[in-house]
Symmetry: D2
Subunit: 140 residues, 4 copies
Amino acid sequence: MQNTEDRIRASFVAQGLMTTIGAKLDRVADGEVQISMPFSKSLSQQQGFVHAGAITSIVDSACGYAALTKAPAGFEVVTAEFKVNLLRPAIGTRFVAIGKVQNAGKLLTVCTGEVRAFKDNDESFKVVAIMQATFVNVSA
Amino acid sequence: MQNTEDRIRASFVAQGLMTTIGAKLDRVADGEVQISMPFSKSLSQQQGFVHAGAITSIVDSACGYAALTKAPAGFEVVTAEFKVNLLRPAIGTRFVAIGKVQNAGKLLTVCTGEVRAFKDNDESFKVVAIMQATFVNVSA
Amino acid sequence: MQNTEDRIRASFVAQGLMTTIGAKLDRVADGEVQISMPFSKSLSQQQGFVHAGAITSIVDSACGYAALTKAPAGFEVVTAEFKVNLLRPAIGTRFVAIGKVQNAGKLLTVCTGEVRAFKDNDESFKVVAIMQATFVNVSA
Amino acid sequence: MQNTEDRIRASFVAQGLMTTIGAKLDRVADGEVQISMPFSKSLSQQQGFVHAGAITSIVDSACGYAALTKAPAGFEVVTAEFKVNLLRPAIGTRFVAIGKVQNAGKLLTVCTGEVRAFKDNDESFKVVAIMQATFVNVSA
């Protein structure tokens, strides 16, 4: 995985949006990637919770990089589509997105993801969003 | 609509994420809202195009505010879920999200949205993403 | 279009499910296909309305055949994914699904569709469902 | 659960479509329901595999009944929307849909589901489809 992880870390750094929203690449495993983001007022919707767009950004990237761990050599992945259900308001001090590959085909990879909300140093969490997404392998 | 528009403008200003990504509320009409966002490297994915998360952020807000124009007095809307298809890379100098109400029920409002990519001052555009979304009316 | 229409008519006849649910191929145009289905108790959910699965079946086929009108020669299409919002109970005597291509790429075609409910010979209708879907071109 | 199971069994019998497609209610547990369907040519798409619409029908019902196990007394559920990814062709002799509640709120319940394809008496299976869906509680 080292090679893949290096490649994903380099790609992550090139994602301007991840820096803008304060996201960090926590973990890269075969078929599973984790990205976290601290709460910030700069990510809020009108009630002060984290905006669905910021939540979607980290879980889309987590799923996309999970898909990339399964892509053939010389291929990149791009998002074809995703669907997100927001289960409850995104309230917390830290949000962790986990993307997992459900099926990796030649052309398309389907992933599911979830975003967990943590408060301070408490280990317990609430799942605030779930995603089902499709990625396309494209020549790099 | 003036009252609704004022309420939406006040809500928009309270969305920290809209400021962070440089989004502007362009137009509020009955059942339809338009939000625009200039290109910025701070919104990019790894290839330099605008990240799906930023594209989703503006079209989710546009659809949500379109839903709000149809909400009963004393109600807010929150996003229950959305689905986005990314039709092509988000390449352009300016992106315009348009959200439209398809059906407004007592509890749920269903909207569709699209994001158009413009280059410089050219009036022509390409649709880079389409959304289908559900919003819930909640007591304000 | 004659050739494409013939091909779609032949394919439609081979879809056992379309016969089972009483569906008919009404119209094939470039990028747009219409399929209708009369009400039947054999298609109902528990309240007597048409089941979401039957509604989905006709709009999936309508979107898929719309995608096929844009597929390169020698290619079939298969459904990669779809998302359906059910706007109101599927009450009516006849249901008409219309699928339209939104973007046809080399590999993937994105369509939107809707299902209209008609009562008896009344020309007015209510949209009971909308779909956003992705199809993949595969060698026939 | 007996009361809920009785109620679900009565509701299932009232679903004309479930009879039409040969579906059976296999199992009702708290927050999880299983429905199976044998292969039949009458459910096919043009290549002879099971049509996405039939696959969707059983997993929509499985998710909906899973949601119903969590609904307050005196409430029914109706499908608001669902999204299905078709992971591979629906080839098999028997298909089993499993619906699970992910979050049950006052108004909305979010479920995920999958459809497994089995061949003959082999215990191994392939997941052919996954669903993410929203159900609304409505007064019965």
